[in-house]
Subunit: 66 residues, 2 copies
């Protein structure tokens, strides 16, 4: 990974980390990672498409409210 | 926020953003934020304590596997 790629990667992580804080999570890494893994499990389940639409709808509503 | 606080805040976001990628999410901000908000809703529900324990257990298993 070159310097520019490393910077883009860092910016991307900062942006995603901002979403974690925006959602209301704090410092508990295990809680955050577990919540994310649970969501991935839902997305990979038989109801995945429904869950994806529900998540995107929730997320867009919050992003557009900021 | 002074320089040291700003740096700590950035480091924290990078760490949290790393968890989002580790869980398997990509670039879809709305999907990530929606999944996180859905998890927060679960944590604030009547089953919140159970959900918290489940999330922490899932998260710790993944953190200890790295």
């Amino acid at each position: 990974m070159n310097e520019a790629e490393r910077k883009a990667d860092t910016r991307h992580k900062i942006e995603l980390g901002g979403l974690v804080l925006k959602a209301g999570f704090g410092d508990d890494k295990a809680l955050v990672l577990g919540a994310l893994l649970d969501a991935i499990n839902r997305l990979n389940s038989a109801d995945g498409l429904y869950e994806k639409q529900r998540f995107v709808s929730l997320g867009n509503a919050a992003l557009n409210k900021k």
